[in-house]
Symmetry: C2
């Protein structure tokens, strides 16, 4: 039931020099599909990551943090679907370490140069021997052209693989930004989305990359929500292989940095929006624009309150312009709000004016703008000049069905 | 689909000396039912109230706050179902004032001695002339024995009327506590539930009553949640008519105060639990006991995170012991939690031990305890001695259905 979302056309997804991707069937669950993805990075690549804030952060997330903190020269990433390796204690950590070791052996690097990721069911031990057995198969398939296959291999309840690519000029050189991601439930990323991997051949120093990834995450994955639940395995990784020929980027003032940042944000936002389009049971993509807030944080808070309200989400599913639920969510987000300054639009129709139903508003207009599969809510708070955009989807019968039957 | 909830037996609901209740058919909506309720209080009654924190507090809530703040000798309450009189600006305030005035005229008191309440659809103007026209009918039916009828008149999407009564001894005198409430969506009360009215014939001074109502709300209505959304019209009113013969209660140390407080909390908790049982589309009542927290606030935060997670709620609907979703919710509530100290029970089965799946746990045990319509989750955080209990219900197909079709 994804909203206007189609599998990526391989012609639109450009390889990134220095990144090869492979995949394998490890049969983590009793399914017949690729469920392991491997990325090999060329020497000299810089890698940055942001991860879930959940206290029950999965074993691979804990290990990734260690490996990145140690400043290791990361050379490979391995991702499995079907099991999250979370709430698995010491045994889980050992399983993640064993995975890194197997990849290191196969690619001739140290285990600390490998990042492992898992997504799937929580609190069950990872069948690590199956992943280790699948490594040679993944290595054999390594190729720079495999981004779309990689996107498919990391899916769980996703209905469509998610990949986005963009090219941009830096200093006369064309550089590429390509990313893949998966959603689609337990999804209110906090610092990162469930799993997203982006790579560029741009040349950029590690400290600048570390700063950049936070800005990219804040402008994209941190602004999408499906159900308000933050997963234990959220990870967003940004790789810069440095294979392109432009001068190394060292500061935000360097020529080309802004162009690169814009391309990274554009790719990340498109991936984030794809996640909302493919939210569990989604029939609508809802874009919430919050304007005239006192701060970006405040704008974000109000956007999330609207996006998380089950009453708002079920009204969108019904294509019902239920304005009362929208103002309820706004009033809960900001108890001290002067409601008489609030204006709200559904699509191009002004529905709330000065905190009340707009005099010009007629129910038929609301019904008209609520019908399409993509709806924009625009809210002006009358408190300042800050703004943000949040993306979400509706709650349908299928949301309940998918999540009631997930483990069966 | 209420969970083990039946209409109150009128024999179990005791009148409170000094409180008469009446009702009328005002046809606020095109329905054939009683939709206006009137309470007349004897002179000398003390009244305290707590209200929604939502910035879009409805017009009658704003007016109630004024009337209570002014210290007026409250003599009557009028409640209508079918329209919330919220987001209605100055006209809404005038409508609430006109209602108070009409009741004052009929009962020979000032408008400031009347509290008006509304519940129903938001952002539509109150058909105040219909309410005014219904006042004589409501006055004509006033009687001390009408609590059950009053509970039915204030229902909206409630499937069952909610009334609870208890008797307790103070200083050798039997006093009565009786309350009614309505739910059942847009419900995460913040200081109060949607609408709850409790009365006692106990003699208690106003300042002590004002303090007491907050404690009663915190122990009951503030611990129940259906969907995490806080309504614009939440109001909880506590009336003490002083008609009984015991010595006036002036301080918490006075004889009988603790007995009265216990009775008030017991009645309020039972009303709160009835609201969870009748949550929109509910098929399960879920009691979440959080223990070993560093503070009551922390215990409450964790309980609410579990109770609000749509993934947890859909798993309960499916009777699926999906432990991963429970630990996800706990980890999100307390990002700094030492997960290795966490223990969790479903019913009598220990499912999580030291942050991992309990060694003794087998899936069939989980399936067994998830089957009944009433399930207790017990969580020990290993951080301190504070504890709380939170009540909620599951998310079913009918939750989506009820809320998708609410306005049609």
């Amino acid at each position: 039931m994804a909203v206007n979302l189609f599998a990526p056309n391989p012609d639109d997804i450009f390889p990134v020099a220095g990144v090869e991707l492979g995949f394998a069937r490890a049969q983590i669950k009793s399914w017949d599909r690729r469920d392991v993805m491997l990325m090999r990075l060329c020497p000299g690549s810089h890698v940055a990551g942001v991860f879930t804030q959940n206290a029950f952060a999965a074993a691979p997330v804990q290990l990734c943090r260690q490996h990145l903190k140690a400043g290791a020269d990361i050379r490979a990433l391995i991702i499995n679907a079907g099991n999250a390796n979370c709430g698995t204690g010491k045994q889980g950590l050992q399983a993640a370490q064993a995975t890194c070791k197997a990849v290191g052996l196969a690619l001739q690097c140290a285990p600390e140069q490998v990042l492992a990721f898992s997504t799937g069911v929580i609190l069950e031990h990872l069948p690590v021997e199956k992943i280790i057995a699948a490594v040679p198969q993944a290595v054999a398939s390594l190729s720079e052209g495999n981004w779309c296959e990689a996107a498919a291999a990391i899916m769980t309840t996703d209905t469509v693989a998610k990949a986005v690519s963009q090219r941009v000029q830096i200093d006369g050189t064309t550089i590429t930004v390509t990313g893949i991601a998966k959603g689609v439930g337990m999804l209110q990323p906090n610092m990162a989305t469930m799993l997203a991997y982006m790579a560029t051949d741009a040349r950029i120093e590690q400290p600048l990359l570390n700063k950049l990834i936070k800005e990219v995450a804040d402008a994209s994955f941190n602004r999408v929500t499906v159900d308000g639940d933050t997963s234990t395995n959220d990870s967003f990784i940004l790789i810069a292989t440095g294979k392109s020929g432009h001068a190394q980027l060292r500061s935000e003032n360097d020529q080309g940095f802004q162009a690169l940042k814009a391309a990274l944000i554009a790719v990340a936002q498109e991936l984030a929006i794809k996640i909302a389009r493919d939210g569990e049971g989604a029939t609508k993509l809802i874009t919430i624009e919050v304007e005239e807030a006192a701060s970006v944080e405040e704008a974000h808070r109000v956007g999330k309150f609207i996006a998380h309200s089950p009453l708002v989400k079920t009204a969108f599913f019904a294509s019902d312009p239920n304005l009362g639920r929208l103002i309820m969510a706004i009033g809960n987000a900001l108890p001290q709000l002067d409601t008489s300054r609030v204006n709200l639009w559904l699509g191009d129709v002004r529905v709330i004016e000065g905190g009340q139903r707009a005099a010009s508003y007629e129910e038929e207009q609301g019904a008209r703008v609520m019908k399409p599969a993509e709806i924009t809510v625009r809210l002006a708070l009358g408190r300042g000049a800050a703004r943000t955009t949040v993306w979400t989807c509706d709650y349908s019968y299928d949301y309940v069905k998918i999540n009631a039957e997930y483990r069966t």
